[in-house]
Amino acid sequence: MEVKNISFSYGEKPIIDGLSMSLSGGRRIAVMGESGRGKTTLLKLLLGVLEPTSGVIERSPGEKPAVVFQEDRLLPWFSALKNAAYSAAPGVSAEELLKDMELGESMDKLPKELSGGMQRRAAIARALAYSGDPLLLDEPFKGLDPDMRERIAGRILERAKNASILLITHDEHEAGLLDCDEIIRL
């Protein structure tokens, strides 16, 4: 995915102005900035939910981004396992991924029966199960304690070894956890 000089504005108010980046070849980019600086808008642009006002996003044929949204967006009526399994690429075991996310004991629980941090990890497991590239992560470690962040970051890197990653975060330390090559400040 190549982002070429994109801008986006809501009415008169510019949100993103002339942003370029290359999310390919396993590149890892962290995007940082205060609230309201367009980080989530950028995610929507990359997913194709919004169209840039100017500039282009070039997607390679067959490209399918996987995403961890800022909100967990788990289907409330399905267990953690079913949530992950519903998005799993053929041949990928959602069960293994949930175990990786330390949810082995809780995979049959509904989202409402999980703590905030557990729901977060279930959302990460779902994104990894999809086996998409690039991997778009909007504050993926929200609600996880420092030790857990480190472990989960390590497993994301193991599982998405060759994928390009876009990390949206407030915390520069997290960019380090995911071994980012570049930090863009909005």
């Binding site: 997913l47 939910v49 399918k64 981004p65 996987a66 995403v67 949204f69 909100e71 967006r73 289907l75 409330p76 009526w77 399905f78 519903y86 998005s87 509904l110 409402k112 779902r126 999809y130």
Partner: protein, 250 residues
């Protein structure tokens, strides 16, 4: 002693007893079973009805008519709900129809429908007509209220249309649909019996309510009404029980 009164069943039994006493006192005060039969007289009338074949046949036929109308209304309402959610034009085209059906008094419909249908089919059609707009409106609003973030998620993860329907839309609409079914069942039941009162089918609880009134058999009138209320209560409990089982995540 206090604990005894806090027991739910005891409490409900006591409340029922209080109201039965009030009824009994009122019957004594009126002093005529023609005007107001007592609970005991009503129970006696119900007991003597319950040993007749006519009573059970009427209950069964009323239940069948109401259920058939209810079932068809639920299906038609769900189909129209989905269709009007998918097409704004269709929604605009059909919404006056929904409003008219909702606003027209049920007795007008009964008399009108009797011109076209038999007295046995009229209660069924009336039950259908009462359920249809309720299920339709609820399914429509349920679809419209589906969480946009979940739909965006489904698109992001490449859900097919069928998967989106079964994993996102259907579970979101289900609580709306089920609550429409509970409300609709109550309406179907009451309107179905009312239609029987007016349409006079060969057998039917509504028919005998009317005949009891006609022959001034007030204890029977009360007994039939009590049977309608008891059946309605049981049906509602049954639906609520099913509803609670289906929507586990709420």
């Amino acid at each position: 002693m206090r604990r005894f009164f806090k027991n739910k069943i005891v409490k409900k039994a006591l409340i029922a007893a209080v109201w039965l006493l009030i009824w009994q006192a009122a019957a004594w005060a009126v002093g005529s079973k023609l005007l107001l039969p007592s609970p005991v007289e009503t129970a006696k009338a119900l007991a003597s009805l319950a040993v007749t074949g006519t009573f059970w046949k009427s209950c069964l036929l009323t239940l069948l008519r109401v259920f058939a109308g209810f079932f068809l209304g639920v299906i038609a309402g769900a189909v129209l709900g989905v269709a009007t959610a998918a097409s704004g034009f269709l929604d605009e085209l059909l919404s006056p129809l929904r409003s008219i059906v909702k606003a027209t008094p049920v007795t007008s419909f009964i008399i009108l429908v009797l011109l076209y249908l038999t007295s046995s089919l009229t209660p069924m059609f009336i039950a259908f007509l009462m359920v249809l707009p309720i299920v339709w409106a609820n399914v429509l609003s349920g679809i419209k209220a589906t969480d946009a973030q979940l739909l965006e998620m489904a698109d992001a993860f490449g859900y097919t249309k069928a998967k989106k329907l079964s994993a996102v839309y259907a579970p979101s609409v289900l609580p709306h649909f089920l609550s429409a079914c509970t409300t609709g069942l109550g309406f179907a039941w009451k309107s179905g019996v009312t239609a029987e009162v007016i349409a006079h089918p060969a057998f039917g609880m509504g028919k005998y309510i009317y005949e009891s009134k006609l022959y001034l058999e007030t204890p029977e009138l009360f007994a039939w009404t009590a049977a309608v209320v008891i059946l309605s209560f049981l049906l509602e409990k049954l639906v609520l029980l099913l509803l609670g089982r289906i929507v586990r995540w709420k």
